[in-house]
Point group: C3
Chain length 654, copies 3
């Protein structure tokens, strides 16, 4: 990865404000240290108030005003908010929910990814914009649409989706018989004799065939890819030398972000730590503890996940204060916006862009704070942004290097267990995130990568939740020479969502020499005790047949294999309790000679080259001496890290 | 307010019973001490079994029988139960729920308030009834429909509602551009170029514009007003000298009862203490404690709320025993029906009318008890009613006077936080009710009034939840000379549901000299400690900028203003814990020289003139000596108040 | 009842596997000790891939292969899985759910019981199969369809259901006026003047008339009866001498299984103890305690319930290991499949048939284990089945005799309280099951019978939940000479779902001489203490008027009758706490001289003739000495019963 000079951005909606304010806005952005500004995201109804009646004067003027002030512009395609006249022309362009209700006009994202008519409209407006502004010297990047899938909009049960799905299946299977065999349709006389007999898998009497559902999820994800590519193909043609970017979300799993990223130059995401804590935090005490800071690993995980999508990445929208969309919306600690910014840079972000310049007094997000208040007085985050800009200027350049530890993240594997969890609380994302948190508390830098990524150069590769495992993956994993750790259910399904003919873990048997004879899921608080009495398994347990070459390193207290090792590959026959998982991983790290620290519950670190960034997510000041070595030079902050504090050191030992 | 002679009523359905029973029923009503009887509420299918085929003989006979016995009759328009032939003629007259399902025939209230065709049918049947019985000497009052909104029937997403809403908006905004500006439709390209482009705010992808939703709520409330006025206009024409009344419900907020009351002579409500406790009681221990009595403040609050709608008011339906519609339906204590009756009179009710004369053996409410059982044997409540009648005869007349303390109740403010609570548990009604309970435990009489009511003569005016505040209100509040107390979020929105240009509290800044820079909501059990360590804030907190004239009377423990006072106006920058709220209010009452008592948790008092009514809602006998002064004359009951006990004293000191 | 020689079966789907495997499969079935095999259940799309294009070669071959190996075959009609081409021909054949959504193709049971066109199709395919295989010497039984009602498919709101319901009502009531009177439609002007005005009782504004809803439930149940009879009539014609059977489910209440059983030769049910525990277990600690065994009474109860439907009965599908359909799916203890099998035989099963021969690697149930794994290796249950077969061979024949205690089970009474529970947690099934469990812990054998069954020969008859009581039942109950025990709400409704003219318990007043003046429901943890301080009532309490002949054997602590006795008939005026219920029942048993034991919480016994089967459902070994008398001969197992242990003794004392 390359060395980059990080900088700040902001999201701006000139169309929301009187033109008289624009010049001063631009001046104050520059004054704050902001270099990039994203505009025009939702402005279709102002660009084209009626069919083929365009008004770009205001946008020309806005670009000129911002550009003249020295700002670099990210232009957006406005396709997340098709205007009313367009929806009225094509009422069937909206998605249908699982119950068949049209998801209508009145907010945003009221379109179906499968609708080809709408795709043509997106191409039309994109081309008009790209032609007009593609060569504009102030415009340095283009964002496609906004937050694909937000408000559960990826999956649609429209006629457009149904027709598209049938074509996609015809292409994939070539004959109904091939599909019948792949899906096992004989099971309940579900056989079809023509692709036109395939229905969408909603509103069935009981669950539809999981193979049917998985293919529909794949199809759906492919439509997001195609929808995005429809725009990037046009942008590439007219906007030479500009970056193409899309802004992803947190813990959003309904399409394959690795696939979409193929057509981008830069991945980005919208980071709202307090909102995410409320939505996804593990329990109420946890949410109360991190109320004003956010989950200490959630942001870092997504930084690493999206860096794994595309080595160049930004935070496109950074939470600046209380937001409007979580069940409860507290204020972050003072300083927290600065902390989140530094943390993103520590993970390799090129740009951290705040959402947004000024809080609107109207419409859906009027409770969402910004860098400035609705009355244009500066809000707290504005001064924090200025401080970050100032501090960035004083820091040396640093390079994000390949980590020693890789964590495998595979969207289809997560879909598979959403479709058939088999245990009601078995969640693929959580399995991966739990390992991530554990590694991070040990102070490690982690690469989160898809199974298709190069495995070379890693010392440890962990696949906590990898349902689909190809022979190729097994070959590359073996060739990497790394220590390998696989979670339960690994390789448990073929690509057709069948049980492998040799039983799970399928292609992994070659590597692990174990066979899963039976799997069971366990209700919360029902657990399996291991030989070492503090060790336990929960959630899931598999009854293994083990080959001669297998070392059984943990058994249950009734003597079944619980954790096995075969060469450098370790297999978890169930999901371990946190402490058991930690001991297992620590043994592997020790074997590979990877040094760890203990950050404690509230501090976290991230190293880039010889720069170490230490942050405090907790509600109390903390002493970070244990994370700073003799001879390290403190560039920002101090050993005692206050609430929302950041300490950056140049390490002597690296 | 005028002195009235309270009396008893009953709800009666002659059409449910053989005509042979009517004479004896009437005789026994009179014998019990009942003077008023409500009839014909749901009897459309008997009045008009088929289009234009009328049968009024039975009703003529019923009226004659009751009237001859000396009973005064409240006639009802039967419009809550349109018959099947009418629905079949106009299938689109039914409401649609939020998912678009027609809410069909088979129970009651199967109509949409916006449907003009049904409104014409209501006018037709009302006119026929009014012409026939308007001058009947036995008929002294008319009830329109029944329980507007019951079973969530106020809000409808029908085509009739959509068309009506478009017209209402056209009338209000005159141009699409004005609407676009008021709503801030530019936000997500939601702009319209014609009123016919406005859709109803349901089934949108994510929440519709809050201004859109608020206008729809206002429109919807206006339709209830118009629906009611459609009938009262006709009744006024044909029923000179008779009272027009409608029976409201408990904790029902979907239309503005102050507006509907403009067209009535008398407000009334249906009081079901045990059912309401099950539905709305604050938690399970509370529900268990008051299982057989009901919440000790819920009835009183509604008595005062509806007295604030119309100074003349009745209880139209009084719970007589176990009901059928709550999750659990226990029996009240013996004596409890008597207690509820006396309490209503203490708050100024003219009539307490029991629901109903005899329990029906059939249909939806067969589990709902009455004054008589289905086999015509007398149930417990009949003797309690007789006792009340006897006691009323022995009590002196008393006048309901203006209270010293006013509590502001504003329906649109409650809608605003239903639409954008910002904190999931922020409920406007509960904010007001919590203050009411606190004042009532201090023994005070309270007027619950709309912000448009006269504020003159009050010593203390409290607005716990007043989102919309006009300049006029501020002027009148100041002019009243009263001590004022405002809850958080006061004045936080303009009438267009925008943040005020000068930030919240908007027009109140003039009075309070504070500005809200930031607001945050807090999850349950996350709280903010104040300087005085027992004081805390919860749910909501605002970061204030305070002017020179502002006295900061409480701060947070990190020194932010928490409670401020400016002249005689106090502002709460967050929602206080119960004890903190109590201390704040007590200080204001003390300042105004208003004496308080402490009723304890189970006793409650209400004074009218020099009559004090003391009731015991608790599960144990209580000594009420602390609430009775030397020289007070006990007219009913005794100092020791038993379970469900009532003590009425003539006070020496007033 | 007759003495039968119990044996084992298995469910097999030859169409899921290559024909090459069939011969070996059959050989290994026989080797295991299996004698019966059920086939062709879901195979319509293979029998008739397109309209009138039949392919029976594979089925001929499968039958021949299995038959030649010595296996007896149960053939199925494949009507639970109509193929896609048929649904496409008749799209309106699918059921509509309560919100009006079609329940579409893509899984199974996508049909409406009321659809006459589909019924004709079922007759067509049944006749084709019956003609072809009715006389086949290997085919000894026929199963109709599969699990009527599974996935909530009994109740449908389709047009077919609506039309059928109108005809059914016309037949029942003959005139709209009769229906209006029976339902009490005057109540809310719900009167109709033509049967075509009757709508289905879904999507009404609030609950539809309970009489309307109850008739719809009766109608719906009748359609299941008619649907089944449509097939059995054909099967009787072509399959002389063969048994006709249907496989019922656990705790499924939406149709009257007694009625359906009239047209069967054998009742059967599908027993999945661990899945049922997860779905229906009483609370989380209970589910954790019996995690790997299932509820210790649930299976036994259903064995007795279905034996009460038809004296000949089978377990058609026996859980063999983890299943796929419960929220969590743990593995049973080793030995548990054997235990469940022996327990079924102890209750009189002729056949216990395992589901299924081999776990499919594809489609919806790929996580559902079987006797063999997907790779054809034997799973644990296969050896347990072999052990059962071996043990059966060594046991003497035993006869199931009439029990001394009868428990009345009435489907319509359960519907009535589903429709109007009046207390949210009042569940008719649970009331009966709670008494069953209590009797079983006392070691008793129980007959679970409909109220229409003969009551002769019983010493004790208990009706915990019998809403509808005919005069005939009262007469027969009296004539039986048995001690009688009635739960609250007994006889509380007429067949028209009205309160009886003489008040509840209606026809029972004749027997009990009590009258219910008032009934109340109680929220959880609100209870009524009785005179004996350890005795309490919960859930429900009735205020009784008692006649002279009534002995009040328990009162509340405020002196109301709580339990009464009149002659040999005891009445519970509320639902007693477990210990109170136990004391009441024990007194009756003692009076009748019925000996009891105490099995403790985890052991259970069941006697057939002189054979006693003792099973251990608990997580620890148990000493069963207290359940084995001196001189009893232990045939299987030992006094110390291990986890999942079974001990069978020949009793000396019987």
């Amino acid at each position: 990865m390359t060395t980059i000079q990080p900088t700040l951005g902001v999201c701006y909606y000139p169309e929301h404000w009187p033109q008289e304010m624009w010049t001063d806005d631009a001046r104050r952005m520059v004054e704050t240290g902001i270099t990039h500004v994203r505009i025009a995201e939702f402005a279709w109804s102002r660009m084209e108030p009626a069919r083929d009646q365009f008004d770009f004067e205001w946008l020309d003027e806005a670009i000129e005003t911002l550009g003249q002030a020295g700002l670099k512009i990210t232009m957006c395609t406005p396709t997340a908010t098709p205007p009313k006249w367009l929806v009225d022309e094509m009422p069937d362009m909206v998605a249908l929910d699982g119950e068949g209700h049209p998801r209508g006009f009145g907010s945003r994202r009221h379109y179906c990814f499968s609708h080809l008519g709408y795709r043509r409209e997106c191409a039309r407006i994109t081309e008009i914009l790209a032609k007009r502004y593609g060569g504009n010297p102030h415009v340095v990047a283009w964002q496609t649409d906004n937050e694909y899938g937000c408000h559960d909009t990826t999956i649609s049960y429209s006629n457009a989706a149904r027709d598209g799905f049938r074509n996609w299946l015809a292409q994939k299977y070539q004959s109904p018989d091939a599909l019948n065999r792949a899906w096992g349709n004989i099971f309940w006389s579900m056989e079809v004799s023509d692709f036109s007999q395939i229905e969408l898998p909603n509103l069935t009497v009981t669950e539809a065939n999981p193979a049917h559902r998985l293919d529909f999820r794949r199809y759906t994800s492919d439509q997001v890819v195609a929808f995005n590519k429809n725009q990037t193909d046009i942008l590439r043609k007219y906007t030479k030398g500009r970056d193409i970017v899309h802004n992803f979300m947190g813990r959003y799993l309904d399409f394959d972000h690795h696939d979409v990223s193929q057509d981008l130059d830069v991945a980005s995401w919208d980071s709202y730590p307090l909102g995410f804590l409320e939505q996804f935090g593990k329990d109420n005490p946890w949410k109360a503890h991190y109320l004003r800071a956010g989950d200490p690993d959630f942001q870092a995980f997504h930084h690493d996940l999206y860096r794994g999508c595309k080595s160049r990445w930004w935070v496109m929208e950074q939470q600046p204060g209380p937001v409007n969309w979580a069940p409860w919306n507290p204020a972050p600690y003072e300083g927290m916006v600065r902390l989140w910014s530094h943390e993103a840079f520590a993970h390799g972000a090129e740009i951290v862009s705040y959402f947004r310049w000024r809080q609107p007094p109207f419409a859906q997000e009027q409770f969402h704070t910004a860098l400035n208040r609705p009355d244009n007085s500066p809000d707290i985050a504005l001064s924090e942004a200025a401080q970050v800009a100032h501090e960035l200027a004083g820091l040396p350049q640093a390079t994000t290097e390949q980590a020693k530890v890789a964590l495998i993240f595979d969207y289809p594997s997560i879909w598979a267990t959403e479709i058939q969890p088999q245990g009601a609380d078995y969640d693929g994302f959580n399995r991966i995130f739990e390992v991530y948190r554990l590694l991070r508390i040990l102070g490690l830098s982690i690469d989160v990568i898809p199974p298709s990524a190069s495995l070379e150069g890693y010392k440890v590769i962990i696949a906590p939740h990898l349902i689909f495992i190809s022979e190729d993956f097994v070959t590359r994993a073996k060739a990497s020479g790394a220590s390998l750790l696989f979670g339960p259910r690994s390789g448990s399904r073929t690509l057709d969502h069948q049980i492998p003919p040799n039983l799970p873990p399928g292609n992994l048997q070659n590597l692990l020499n174990v066979k899963v004879l039976r799997a069971e899921s366990l209700r919360p608080r029902s657990m399996i005790t291991l030989d070492h009495h503090r060790d336990k398994m929960q959630l899931w347990f598999e009854h293994l047949e083990t080959g001669d070459t297998v070392e059984i390193i943990r058994t249950t207290n009734d003597d079944r294999p619980a954790i096995t090792r075969t060469g450098k590959a370790t297999y978890l026959a169930g999901w371990p309790f946190s402490e058991t998982l930690k001991r297992t991983i620590q043994a592997i790290l020790k074997y590979e000679g990877i040094e760890t620290v203990s950050t404690g519950s509230d501090l976290r670190i991230r190293d880039r080259g010889n720069l170490r960034t230490i942050v405090n997510y907790g509600p109390k000041p903390r002493d970070a001496s244990g994370l700073i070595s003799e001879g390290d030079e403190i560039l920002v902050g101090s050993r005692e890290i206050g609430i929302a504090g950041v300490t950056i050191v140049r390490r002597n030992t690296v």
